[in-house]
Symmetry: C2
């Protein structure tokens, strides 16, 4: 494989694919829903920045928009084509793109090697052959590309965020791409680009990883991999890229049954768990065990300063939550050093007594601690030189009982999440030690929609201040552990 | 310790404690909020079935209710007392209860051995001494008892469910009790009784476990333990009880830091991870790693038939979800046998093509599969004699895009969750093989409150039909794995 950086033609191709001046959608039907019409309305709704052309050999009109019979009829050359026609017509459509000088195409259609049929294999080989003659191909059997800056979006993605962020996602699965894009929108993960490559007839994991390694917009790389084409090459690129940017890998199909599922899904070979675990560790990348862990880990990598986090403070109202935090911390290689007696006493001055304790974990023994008290507590605790990061566990649902008791209509009026977000972000800035929020949601019944609304508002208020928010302790500490271990390994490699 | 069953006096005491005809709350203040007034309004709001008396040596009136100066002034003998006065006044109040013939008391006040002070230790010893003379004590430093049938509730628990269920919970932590009670309400876990025993001066883990072992209302026993008083005795009772009812244990404080947190929390000794893991396994009980896992596992134990589940079917729209399911299944000792080609073909007849696959996992490759199609698919798949249980992964948020596209106001109108719940429960009844729903929630933004509402309605619709619902695959399979392993171990013990 040619290196991307050494090859300005490849680099330009990527730029044109992610930020096309125009797009031709091949397979828009004059009547009835097709993937082509679906992606067209998605692009219009999300506000794609370029021009959109509909193409179908049958011609016609869709919602007042002309459907061109071929690429040749279009008034201008095309940067990027989206192909959504039945599998047997794909090679012809792709070849037309190539001949017309289209830079890249994504093929949304399924019905190729994932079927395990001879015809599927043959059709996919044809795609590969055409690509080799000079057009870059994403797919087939994929959901395509999502790029918030240009407004390219995934197949069912009219409502994805248009705000760019540091995370690039390379995924063999379309479903996982769209799910991750949705999760990222409210969890606070911004994406630079996302690319679902499906069967990967042309563009695949290794080349895309290399691209994201060079892409200045991408600071954190996430991957969902079912199988790789060339293990040795992948490992070598992974090593290089992971040495400069965190690479977080969710590997699917690590088991016999998983391998079978992978084969039906994207026609890949799974590979065993042990091999994968050691490859990822050797390369200095981060392995996660599923989509939620992937998302939480990307959140931590994108919002926390890149450094080693050895020791933490955990504070909150509730002794058992503190106990759980301690057990989880050890699981993920984090320490909770016991605070000095003087520090403990100083902190206790600001907490309700009796019931509270402050040796670390800090148990405030009360859900209604004033944000100003937490300001004092966290400012004090940050003075301990061993502490790298502080975590606040905050339940919000108690404010509903309080507000009902006060005769108020909604808990929103008295829940001090804005004040708390302010305090947390200010203390982090003043002390240089990040603060993280854990906000469990224990009341998810139909009668608690008002609490849910407050929780969602609160999450956004914290994210607006750059504070990462997690739903539960274990996920928070697991993500933090990943960040810490990644930078510890990178540091020791750099010292060699 | 005397055996509860061999001692009708103890047994009657438990009955009177959980279902008291009346309650005296010692520490209700004529003005200002105290724990005493808090628990009084909770009992009134939840609709406690018996009579409530307020007591405070200062007398007075609260919200038009007379505050008696002492127990002696009350018009009738008292079954159960709730003590919520400052720690130094607790022994006197408890002694008065004992002298007046009160059967049991819960002490909500903190300020005892958990402080690590000499005074705290001494006060707790006084409680122990009084209890030994003939009154059963829950606490101190606890949130008390929750019993849906009688309407006794935890300290901040005015809104807990009044519907009884099969799960009994013995917890050293008050916070974890109230959190679990809230989670249970919407997750579909019904409680027989819940008892938060805090420092456990009198009633503790072993005796309560023995009680739940005998209690006909309790079919599944959940425990949160920080430390036990007598390890040998606990193990012996645990063995006996786990042989007849599932016992699920969340052990907090398995690490050095966790042990320190435990000491500040309930003055217990933690014990090491290895010892605890082997004790729980030896006893044939189930160990879980946190509150959410505890809840999910209780859900599975209470809604699924008690048997070994070796092999599963996983179906849903989305190939990567299927891959994840396979990997998770192996992690928890569950198999996903490949279906016969004839069966695969028969199932594919009912699924959209191309894109779907049906070797197990079954990938419907479409979020809008008609519930009637799933009826056929699951009825067919259940015919495979290897299959013990079937799992459907269903996303609901796609119905919002669909409904917006159709110009509808809410996705509720077109989301076929009632039909699906009907199909799922009917197929389970017809085939004798349970079905479980996994319903991930990927869109939790402020703009998706309507989806959240549909998800909550849908969850209730499935629960109403007895179908357990999980938020994610991994939790579902982990819970299923616990059920299966518990019954497999019990079966092999019974065969010895």
């Amino acid at each position: 494989m040619k290196s991307i950086t050494a090859d300005p033609v490849s680099w330009d191709a990527f730029e044109r694919i992610f930020h096309p001046r125009n797009v031709a959608i091949i397979g828009v039907s004059a009547r009835g829903y097709t993937f082509g019409t679906g992606i067209m309305s998605s692009l219009k709704t999300i506000g794609f920045e370029g021009k959109i052309y509909a193409v179908n050999p049958k011609g016609g009109e869709f919602n007042g928009m002309k459907i061109y019979k071929s690429l040749g009829e279009l008034p201008q050359p095309i940067d990027f084509a989206i192909i959504a026609v039945p599998a047997e017509h794909v090679p012809k459509a792709l070849e037309e793109c190539r001949v017309m000088g289209v830079t890249g195409a994504e093929i949304l259609s399924a019905g190729f090697s994932e079927l395990g049929t001879e015809e599927g294999m043959r059709l996919e080989q044809e795609i590969r052959d055409i690509a080799a003659k000079g057009i870059r191909v994403v797919g087939p059997n994929c959901f395509g590309i999502y790029c918030p800056r240009s407004g390219l979006t995934l197949l069912p993605g009219p409502d994805l965020s248009r705000t760019s962020g540091p995370v690039g996602f390379v995924s063999q699965s379309g479903g996982m791409s769209i799910d991750f894009a949705h999760i990222g929108k409210w969890m606070g993960i911004g994406f630079s680009k996302m690319i679902s490559f499906g069967n990967g007839a042309d563009l695949r994991e290794t080349e895309l990883l290399e691209y994201f390694g060079e892409d200045p917009e991408t600071k954190v790389i996430a991957m969902y991999i079912e199988g790789v084409k060339d293990g040795r090459e992948f490992l070598s690129v992974l090593k290089d890229v992971a040495a400069k940017k965190p690479v977080i890998i969710n590997k699917g199909g690590l088991t016999e049954a998983g391998g079978r599922a992978v084969q039906s899904h994207t026609a890949s070979m799974g590979g065993t768990r042990n091999i994968w675990e050691s490859v990822i560790r050797q390369a200095g990348a981060v392995q996660v065990g599923g989509l939620w862990e992937l998302a939480q880990t990307c959140l931590a990598f994108s919002l926390l300063p890149g450094r080693v986090y050895e020791n933490i403070i955990v504070a909150g109202g509730g002794g058992a939550l503190g106990v759980e935090a301690c057990d989880a911390a050890e699981r993920y290689g984090l320490g909770l050093p016991m605070l000095d007696p003087e520090m403990t006493e100083a902190i206790l001055e600001f907490l309700p007594r009796p019931g509270s304790s402050a040796r670390n974990p800090i148990d405030a023994a009360n859900p209604f601690v004033d944000p100003r008290a937490y300001r004092e507590v966290f400012t004090l605790a940050a003075q301990d030189p061993r502490i790298d990061v502080q975590i606040l566990i905050q339940l919000l649902h108690h404010y509903k009982s309080l507000s009902s008791g006060m005769g108020l209509e909604s808990p929103k009026e008295i829940t001090p999440y804005r004040e708390l977000a302010g305090v947390i972000s200010e203390v982090a800035a003043e002390t240089g030690k990040p603060l993280v929020l854990v906000m469990p949601d224990f009341k998810q019944g139909r009668e608690s929609m008002d609490i849910e609304e407050v929780i969602r508002e609160a999450r956004q208020a914290f994210l607006d201040k750059g504070v990462p928010v997690f739903d539960d302790l274990n996920s928070c500490l697991r993500a933090l552990g990943h960040v810490s271990l990644y930078y510890a390994r990178r540091r020791s490699r750099e010292r060699l």
